[in-house]
Amino acid sequence: MEAELKAMLSDLETLKRSLPDPSHHASIDKMQLRVEHLTNLAKSAPVQRSKVKDMSAEVVDSNPYSRLMALQRMGIVQNYERIREFSVAIVGIGGVGSVAAEMLTRCGIGRLLLYDYDKVELANMNRLFFRPEQVGMTKTDAAVQTLSDINPDVVLESYTLNITTVQGFETFVSSLKNKTFRPSKEGSGVDLVLSCVDNYEARMVVNQACNELNQTWMESGVSEDAVSGHIQLLIPGETACFACAPPLVVASGIDERTLKREGVCAASLPTTMGVVAGLLVQNTLKYLLKFGHVSPYLGYNALKDYFPTMEMKPNPQCSNVACVDRQREYLLVKPARDAAAKAKIEAEALSATEFPLHDDNEWNISVVDDSELDKTDVRSLDALPDGLVRELPNADEFQKLPVPLETANSIDDLDDLRRQLEALSAG
């Protein structure tokens, strides 16, 4: 293309010289300018920028990180460059997960692991990120395509699988354990898992994997009526896990009985999903780069612009065995942790004069104080702050279960039972 345009320019030049009448020169000059403009456009078309070795704080328009490194200059973040060491796994590359992935990519995150089993559909186009020409591609492949163009420095791994199946779960867990990106890292191979899935079943699976791996994760969700959402930080053993109590939802204030569900499963808005993705990645950056307050739970009611917050203690009777194991481990190390935290607070108090705290609380929207004492007991349903409700009931007490209705079926061999069902099906 560039060679063609160059040839055209020289043809025009030859034409101009061969013309005896200079009155045509002006229009040829105009044509030459247009060709030059086209040449520039062709040059700037889909050219990928090359990788950057070190994040520079230099303020030039060719530096993709200058505005991010400015956070460090301003004293908001102590060491922004550390972001390149971190690995974040994003489960579910839909309306929230894809936007979260783009945000982290633009922030220069070290490595992203992307999980989804679905393909891009035209029905997804009311949300951000995916483009119509990507319809039919797997969401993970389409995401890698876009993200690697935006920032080739990010190491991208895509996993097209369903984490709720036995096989998918095994691959999911082993990919989280892989430490080749940063062998010196303690624990698993990732710093944080972000759950951006759209259903309870998949959240329970992320919870299971993270409890088993002792992996800190963040949950996010948007309601099926598209007008509320939430994010939640889950630290195994330290905070309530996703199975400790039935999941919380932000009450939209709409009477469930007036909600018309005929003919539809779920609605979605790019706005609500974008807001939730923004809240999720903001919390992620604060957690990874250690600045500001990391929210344990933040709800979003879009109809009222109301943001309830709360904290939840783990449930000692949690039905998830791995959660109870993590709770026991956490209690063992708690005294040492508390002492260290206290020392840190005292050290910060000494230097507090440099950064005066705004304790007039004018903009504080928290409805629950953050101190340990006020952590909500997950079991008590009436202790929830305004605007939050439980989505599901607790399981009935195990011990009070009625004895299972004994059938006439006394066979207790698996193969015999299988054959009995087959015979019934054939008849």
Partner: protein
């Protein structure tokens, strides 16, 4: 049991309840649970047959019993409409219910999630959660799939989204 029709309710109470809380990663305990699942399915299928309401066939698609496939059908205006049926037992089972899929109807109705997973009523998940681990596959079919077929097949047929296959036509008369 608010929100369920009386038929579903009375059928449900006759399906034997399960007692072992074990999922596909729980080894021997899962085998015990699997036996209970079979007993539930055998009882439910027999009950349907004797009530002249036979409406599905199902069998494990692998030796571990973590994947199930089969057929389900629904009779509308004296014509029988039959669909493939499949689902995996999730790793967090029975805390979470299996997600039942009708792949042939994927993309034909809004009452379906991606991949052909049926969209359950607002009443299903709370009842499942409350009854964990007593509900099994048979309960999921009875509470999830049966009401879905009853609600959606007539709409799919009347709107022309699905056509009756003459070669599987059977008059119920």
């Amino acid at each position: 049991m608010e929100g369920w029709d009386p038929n579903t309710k009375s059928t449900l109470t006759q399906i034997p309840l399960l007692s072992i809380k074990a999922g596909p990663r729980d080894g021997a305990a899962w085998t015990q649970r699997l036996k209970e699942e079979y007993k539930g399915l055998i009882a439910y299928t027999s009950m349907n047959k004797s009530n002249d309401n036979d409406w599905f066939r199902i069998s494990a698609a692998n030796p571990e019993g973590t994947r199930w496939t089969g057929k389900c059908w629904y009779v509308h205006n004296l014509l029988k409409y039959e669909f493939d049926l499949q689902f995996d037992i999730p790793v967090t089972y029975p805390s979470t219910a299996p997600e039942i899929e009708l792949p042939q109807l994927d993309g034909k109705t809004h009452k379906m999630y991606r991949g052909g997973k049926i969209c359950l009523t607002v009443h299903f998940k709370p009842l499942w959660a409350k009854n964990c681990p007593r509900f099994g596959i048979a309960h999921a079919l009875c509470l999830g799939l049966a009401p879905w077929l009853a609600a959606e097949v007539p709409i799919l047929v009347d709107s022309g989204m699905i056509k009756h296959k003459d070669d599987v036509a059977t008059s119920i008369l």
